[in-house]
Symmetry: C2
Subunit: 433 residues, 2 copies
């Protein structure tokens, strides 16, 4: 047992020092698992003085990132410095020198993931990024370890803790959207500019990564249909409950013969669906595979300890591949041809809440609009509006194509008796097809 694998770290903040501590404390266990010794050789930091007190266990600190990247004895680079530009260049350089790379950088992976993974493959080395999607949930590994023979037809993700926290508090505490957002900011879940969370961009990045892996097909950020959650009201949430649904900011990726559809939007999710019970800042990923059936993985989406734990698992996997001599083999070509569904092929159920004139004949005119677009209705109720002469119509359609749904919305908007589309949601969580 004389083999030794040298690690170089870029960054030594909370996650980085967590990683270093875990590797040191589990030295013996790691040797037993791998049949080789794992050693952190060099750590690039911004400020040497800051780390004088740290227990480095023989690792060399340097402010020169190249001293780590150009060290030929270093086999694996752990990037936990954050940011885009600098990290991007460093990872490119590392992969080009055929070092394996482990990163926790979700923004970087979302922007440059496909290219970096290709670069890793071209250089017969590995790029691991478990911590960049749902930090505490081993979902990338689960999808990679799964066999191609278990065809995955559906992935759903609650992959943004901030929005799930907001929706949980709106439902359980009856807080308004603004109150819940403010609390999330106070607790440090939400950034002072929450756009990327509440508009669904952060979740969309993660869904693109998950869909790529699950379907073995290139899926880009631009392929993800995104709708934000800023217009959700507590009234919608209460209505959802009456109909047997939870409102969730849900990522979904679905595949059938026609192709793939990926989106992130607030949906009405059946209360009996396992994802409906994911509360507060927790994340979960639901996978439906033809052989295994329904599985779900639940855990913290962020946090320095869960992230460090994921990084260490990735380091172990990278070391294992180096020792087996199969580094780069997991970057197999996409098995499936890129094929996205047209709006005509995208089918879903929808929930509509409409404010209409309370006049004779309105109800039948309304239903005839849906009928013209082939949308039969699952449930429909009418109730008095707030003002006299107004009524609210609340309905859920059977599955209808996105194209026809757009047609319905256009007609409703043009109709003389519909005063307002108060809200509309995609409906999810029926039996998997």
């Amino acid at each position: 047992m004389t083999k030794e694998i040298n690690i170089g770290m870029l960054g030594f903040g909370t996650v980085g020092s967590g990683v270093a501590t875990m590797i040191r404390e589990n030295e013996q266990q790691l040797s037993q698992k791998l049949g080789a010794k794992v050693k952190i050789k060099k750590i690039a930091v911004r400020d040497l003085d800051k780390h004088r007190a740290a227990d480095l266990n023989g690792s060399i600190l340097t402010t020169d990132i190249n001293e780590v990247l150009e060290d030929a004895t270093i086999d694996v680079i752990v990037e936990v410095m954050g940011g885009i530009e600098g990290a991007h260049e460093a990872i490119e350089q590392a992969l080009q020198s055929k070092k394996a790379v482990v990163t926790a950088n979700k923004d970087l992976m979302a922007l440059h993931g496909h290219k970096l993974l290709k670069l890793a493959g071209d250089n017969a080395t590995d790029l691991y990024y478990e911590a960049s999607v749902a930090g505490g949930i081993p979902i990338i590994r689960t999808l990679e370890d799964g066999l191609a023979s278990d065809r995955i037809s559906t992935i759903m993700g609650i992959v943004n803790g901030t929005t799930n926290y907001i929706l949980t508090k709106m439902k359980e505490e009856n807080w308004s959207y603004d109150e819940a957002l403010k609390k999330a900011q106070e607790l440090g879940f939400a950034e002072s500019d929450p756009t990327s969370d509440v508009e669904g961009l952060d979740a969309a990045r993660k869904m693109a990564i998950l869909a790529t892996l699950a379907f073995s097909m290139e899926v880009f950020l631009d392929d993800v249909e995104v709708r934000g959650m800023t217009s959700i009201t507590t009234e919608d949430i209460e209505l959802a409950e009456q109909f047997g649904y939870h409102v969730k900011m849900l990522g979904y990726a679905e595949r059938d013969e026609d192709g793939v559809e990926v989106g992130v939007e607030p949906v009405f999710l059946k209360s009996s669906h396992p994802m409906a019970s994911v509360r507060n800042e927790y994340n979960a990923v639901y996978v439906y595979g033809d052989a295994v059936g329904e599985t779900m993985f639940y855990g913290p989406g962020a946090g320095s300890m869960p992230t460090a734990t994921s990084v260490v698992s990735d380091v172990i996997a990278a070391c294992r591949n180096l020792l087996l001599g199969v580094a780069g083999s997991r970057n197999i070509d996409y098995v499936n041809e890129r094929k996205l569904k047209s709006q005509d092929q995208q089918k879903a159920q929808f929930f509509h809440r409409l404010l209409v004139k309370d006049e004779v004949g309105v109800f039948s005119e309304l239903t005839s609009i849906y009928g013209r677009y082939g949308a039969s209705l699952g449930s429909i109720i009418q109730r008095p509006g707030e003002k006299a002469g107004e009524a609210e119509v609340i309905l859920i359609t059977h599955p209808v194509s996105r194209k026809n749904h757009n047609g319905i919305i256009d007609e409703l908007n043009q109709s003389s008796f519909v005063q307002k589309i108060i809200s509309q949601y995609r409906v999810e969580g029926g039996e998997p097809r």
Copy 2:
């Protein structure tokens, strides 16, 4: 890439042929992952004629199990023949000849698991058994891959599909226990003799395996406190709901400074707990680790395809260890000394439903019994009994030791004003300690 790993299979039923098909269909993917070719060399079956039509892809069928076990070129034995005696002997023989073994045999692992794992360690080889606990959930791998530094303090398991199906139907369809059991038998979830499921023995076996791994400490079947679920009524389930709980047949394993407590029994589980939403025949395992926090893994507990998928994952892991030259290294010694909690150290909340005489002073006499044993009450309500002169008292205690709880139950049984303890349940799902 000339290395080749030979597999020998014992049994070729639904699971076995599923395993063979998966390995064949993913030949290329397996080589890429492992840097070696995986080949099923021999398959022992009971009846050759039965398999004349099967696509064997070059594997040799034999009715002589020794032809597989004694083949020196076979590196990994997959035991999917089932049964106890024969499988036990075969696995012992395989491990003694230093072959790695993958088994899906939960009864065997429950009875002889500790000894077989020790035998594997003594022979510097591996015994994998993922499919024997919650077939479609990769929980053994997750616990083994986790680092010792993430101290696990709680495991909860819904690890028996039959009992969870029965409880779901009792709650959602208002079926009686007998009706639900009958339906489960018709659907093939429950055996004609359901004792092992409904008395909690099957779940107890799995909890002993999970606790051993999670706490790195020998936990035996006899260490698990077991209580069956045959006396649960729909009334209890409704009451639970009113108090914000689901009744679940729950395995729990908890550890603190005092030691370990493992049990399986019907509990009142907080409705907001992620495990409360696990419905029908599904299984789930919840893990609380100090670093990662709450995680939960959800999926099918049985079924031939999920089981075959788990077996193939184990085969990959076994091959990897052989190639890395670290076979046997995962059978590390138990890190922690065996230390079970005494009844004085076991603390939990309890739900009681009592039928009492409706007389002046009864309420205060009753609460004084709880007070004498240091059990303060979280909620208590009284309502009229079915007959005049009777009342029902329903209460939930704050945490109290098992020993004191037994004292309370004894006093209640002896008391002149308590006519009957209608039901009692352990309460779970508060914030993790």
